[in-house]
Symmetry: C2
Amino acid sequence: MQPVNLGLIGCGTVGTGVARLLLERRQLLVERTGIPLVLKYVADLDHQTDRGITFPPGVFIDDAWTVVNDPAVDIVIEMIGGTGIARELIMAAIANGKQVVTANKALLASQGNALMQSAAAAGVDLAYEASVGGCMPIVKSLREALVANDIHAMVGILNGTCNYILSQITESGLPFDTALSQAQANGYAEADPTLDIEGIDTAHKLAILTALAFGMRINLDDIYIEGITAITPLDIQFARDFGYRIKLLAICKNHGASVEARVHPAMIPEKNILSHVSGSLNAITVSGHAAQDLFLSGRGAGMLPTASAVLSDIVDLARNLRCGGTGRVPLMGYQPDRIKPLPVLPMSEIVSHYYIRFAVQDRPGVLAAIAGILGDNAISIQSVQQKDRKTNGWVPIVMLTHHAKEAYIQKALKEIGALEVVGPAPMLIRIEDDNAQD
Amino acid sequence: MQPVNLGLIGCGTVGTGVARLLLERRQLLVERTGIPLVLKYVADLDHQTDRGITFPPGVFIDDAWTVVNDPAVDIVIEMIGGTGIARELIMAAIANGKQVVTANKALLASQGNALMQSAAAAGVDLAYEASVGGCMPIVKSLREALVANDIHAMVGILNGTCNYILSQITESGLPFDTALSQAQANGYAEADPTLDIEGIDTAHKLAILTALAFGMRINLDDIYIEGITAITPLDIQFARDFGYRIKLLAICKNHGASVEARVHPAMIPEKNILSHVSGSLNAITVSGHAAQDLFLSGRGAGMLPTASAVLSDIVDLARNLRCGGTGRVPLMGYQPDRIKPLPVLPMSEIVSHYYIRFAVQDRPGVLAAIAGILGDNAISIQSVQQKDRKTNGWVPIVMLTHHAKEAYIQKALKEIGALEVVGPAPMLIRIEDDNAQD
């Protein structure tokens, strides 16, 4: 069969993995696809790093624009990242009628709607499996495997750095800062970990998945985002006492006329298989009306796991080029004219179970005062736990609530925090437990 | 876009689910695919059962041959099951140039090579996602998502009946026969459960997956098959003491020039996520050289979960028909001329860790006699446990071995079983634990 020519832009960690798979697994790929995949260009300014690859002469070049402008290139693989030059190169590739593969979640989350529109108008495919969940085929599952399902909800662990840190705190009881330092020392967290630990990277991925699942536009701005920096070993210990584990979750739910989309730490029961996803792994449960719960788990980052997903996209596009054409699967899972303007519920409107930890003075009447305020705000308590775990002279008191509205919880916390006998900044962690009492 | 006409043969449980999804989710499907999917025929002899569906006039017919012979039908969906008439209908559909979707694992495991050859020769696609693992996209993952991976191994729980029964024994301590009766009463096991509990259904699925993953012909006959009927609550309790759970596993491993493919109960550590797959769920871990471990879990049977996978196939084929043509993805994941004749290792050649439980007379020297025979057969003991759990006057003694060859284990067990102080029929359960000491 006629070869498909590939141009790779950006040869960092994942780009190197893509080049390695293309060169080292050339025979496997042709045995499986029947299509010779030719790595025509690898564009990167860094010629010094030893990538452990011997490129054929003329392949490794400086100029990314050569890749997007050479008429011989069929598929452009953007592995630069960021929202600046990457966007320009992708737009140029689209304008030149090339198929595009990217893993750039930040770009898709912030400007994906415009990019998809341009690609659809130009009649080219823009593939992005590796933008979410590393090697897990979550985009493929939503666009293809679950095509006949109304998707009700998704709950995912989509950031390996956060999951690694939370797993470390759970296993070793270390405070957050120490666990973060260890994660950095072991290569599981960046020098500047903000995007990961503040939940922003997770929100990028959730924005993409929510749009795909529910047939709506990508809407990053309306996603509620809360990171893991406030989680303490004490909360993890309390969680365990209640049969829960704490994970940073990406959650979206479809209510028909509106959706929920939120990123925050949450307690999940030990019998939820997500609670057993530890270390730097990613995982997601997709709830469809027909399939019920489909659960995927795998490496969410790293050179070869992410490259594995990029290759899945490259092969899909190559197969499209050689067996028909583009547009076989609509880019965002729905025909463009069927994408709906579904609003994301404000966080104050959501309903959840809650874990609340107060630091209180150990004297009579405190519990009654707190319970009174909760009651006044229509919040019903499911259980209370008070153990003699003194922190800074205060005694922690923990409450689990029945279903309550976030707005009421926040109002009650403010009122309770103003009590003289209650320490500042109560800790609030939402509970995702389908089997908890309403 | 021009509609694609579908003909469904067999309207039992899964067939009904397929019809329901096609009719009740007609709008969703067109929003996602842009292709009107028209259910032209549903062929079934049973007109009495209320399926809760109102078919348009002329759709529900008796004669399956009308479906495969009407030139207007684009895709034939075979949901009859069995290896007789189903095979004839599929062959006729192929001969008539129709695309085919089936969930018929028994047929594919026994005659899949010939069917695939016929389909390839006729230039039609034969899709079978629903034949393995219900709603889990395992076929799609192997043929598409993991296309750039050398697959090293797969370990799966592929039979919901067995997993339900083993979960019941684990949770309630019931003996096998009682757990089976309860499973039958609750609709989780057939009146004749042989195919399930003897591991045969699991082997059908493993035969398909092994061929797909390793690029070899389907080879059911050489798969080692052992069911779950001998598993006792005592073994499950011992397993728990060692930090293991017992599951019926489908295992295949690629050794390059040969493969392993076997179905048997096995102990897996509690930190293996497969051990947390309980009830009637299915799951599989696929180990690829790039992706590392990809884990899928979901409903492996049932009306709508299985129909969800059938719809995935129908949409794939419809997209192929409208956007290019057939043969986009080779039927068994590799180009037909690249499928290798890889032999399956005889069971005697495999190497594993083992759990062995003997019933012994409680007198001095027994352990020495057993250990001596194991040592003579080059089997090294990792740990021994003897508790006073008398069964029928005998005392159970349990040993875990280091890596040992199956042939030596079987020889040693025969010799030990012949000792006067040892009861008949020692219990042998293989251990799948990557972290166990060699």
